[in-house]
Symmetry: C2
Subunit: 285 residues, 2 copies
């Protein structure tokens, strides 16, 4: 499917995609690039990538597919570094969690949006990070949201779709703006809430005693608060508008519930809980 793949950022997501590309025999070679020589050497040892470049330009040159899997904060500098060497035929995709921000970074770095650029976001991951946590089945039966720009070429979109489908994922297209709103609600907001809960308990008097009585529900609820802080900081910065919008909605609903508890309004509390349970039971398997 591809000849030379350039993978910029060889962490959990990038590494898992590289493993999947190799498993399904979708490319001749994968050349990585990353900030840490040690991590890159480990990635070669693990067979995740074949080799690595010493700078982005060299890594991307001659690649027919470029995958950008770096933290949100690094997109603009990564795109800028490759601006000179990509051609109209280079397919570029990424795995960033906030898509408007990726497109803005591309505009700023490339001037015009490249026709080969097809931004994407796999709805997959774990709370772990780093290439050692990567595995080749991460995307199987997962959804990949692609957010083509107005400049994306149909051929490039098709190639990116085929790549994801070949590693077992389903693809869906929507606008970057809609993606950012949906993900703010289903992913970014829950992370913000979980970090805030652990922060609240951690700041309480006798917090270590309090944590001792945390049961399974608490463990599940706060698992995402063990995610990479830098990554989530970057997501908050890069999807600020959509996150704040849904966070304000959340605060209003929480306040409504608080008022009902304060008023001992059994019926109002019950209505909220029944509706929430039935929505979750209906929509989340």
């Amino acid at each position: 499917m591809f000849n030379r793949v350039a993978l910029i950022g060889v962490g959990l997501i990038g590494g898992s995609l590289a493993r999947a590309l190799k498993k399904h025999d979708l490319c001749q070679s994968i050349i990585g690039f990353g900030r840490s020589q040690e991590e890159l050497e480990k990635a070669v040892e693990l067979g995740v990538i074949d080799n690595f470049g010493s700078d982005i330009k060299e890594t991307v040159k001659d690649a027919d597919l470029v995958i950008v899997a770096v933290p949100m904060s690094a997109f603009e500098s990564v795109f800028s570094a490759m601006a000179d060497v990509i051609s109209d035929d280079t397919v570029i995709t990424d795995v960033g969690s906030a898509k408007n921000s990726v497109i803005e970074a591309a505009k700023s770095a490339f001037g015009d949006l490249p026709s080969g650029l097809v931004p994407g976001h796999p709805i997959a991951g774990t709370e772990k990070n780093g290439v050692e946590a990567s595995f080749d089945s991460l995307f199987e039966n997962r959804q990949i949201i692609l957010t083509p720009t107005e400049k994306s070429a149909a051929g490039a979109i098709e190639k990116v779709e085929k790549m994801w489908q070949a590693v077992g994922a389903e693809t869906v297209q929507m606008t970057a703006e809609h993606h950012d709103q949906v993900l703010a609600a289903t992913s970014h907001l829950p992370h913000v809430l979980a970090f805030s809960l652990v922060e609240t308990l951690g700041k309480m008097h006798e917090s270590s005693e309090i944590f001792r009585y945390a049961a399974g529900g608490f463990r599940d609820f706060t698992r995402i608060a063990s995610s990479d802080p830098t990554m989530w900081r970057d997501i908050c910065l890069n999807n600020k508008t959509a996150i704040l919008s849904v966070l304000k909605k959340y605060e209003r609903h929480l306040k409504t519930l608080e008022i009902a508890i304060e008023a001992q309004d059994a019926e109002a509390i019950n209505e909220i809980f029944v509706r929430a349970k039935s929505a979750r039971d209906e929509h989340v398997s």
Copy 2:
């Protein structure tokens, strides 16, 4: 260990404790009582209880151990119904999630707090309910918080402790007030937050589309929003003060984070996330 055990409320928790008592051969017989004849018949069929009574008085009479495993809202009427037939030798314990409220219900029903009453709360459960979801290992390696009253007899406390330890649990004693604060933070608040999150998304435009892109993190985070709404309504009503106190703390921390996101204050966001991640990684396995 016991001769005749009266189990008032044969659901997930009561049923699991009955199964564990039988498995570890800790009593001669278990007589159940509940609101639904059908559920009680099922419990007998499943071997969870040996028989069931037609009223609380008859069920409790001659029992040397009474276990109350009913919703929080039913405690006062259950205690009142048994007030005439319990003796000084009857050990009474319960599994209610809010302990001050159980003790208040007992005071109101019994007049004086019985010396045999040792309130307790197993930190165990699942989001399921009903006797069919019960299983005999639910309490293994789990913590049971006992909140003896100022009237609880040392002998009764010891018997309840020994019972829980015999089914594989660890016991710890604290005041009812402290229990309620700790559980408000580690259990009740997370439930309130999870119900509110699902409520927020459920009320959004195109909510069924939004739920479609929920990933594993969302599933874990909202699992507790599939819990029994009535049970959690009752907990909110019965542990109102402690829940509102920790909820207000939470809202302040959430607001701090919101302001940091609004201000694009990378350092402030990072500090919160790093602190939360390290607290969770340290305290929650």
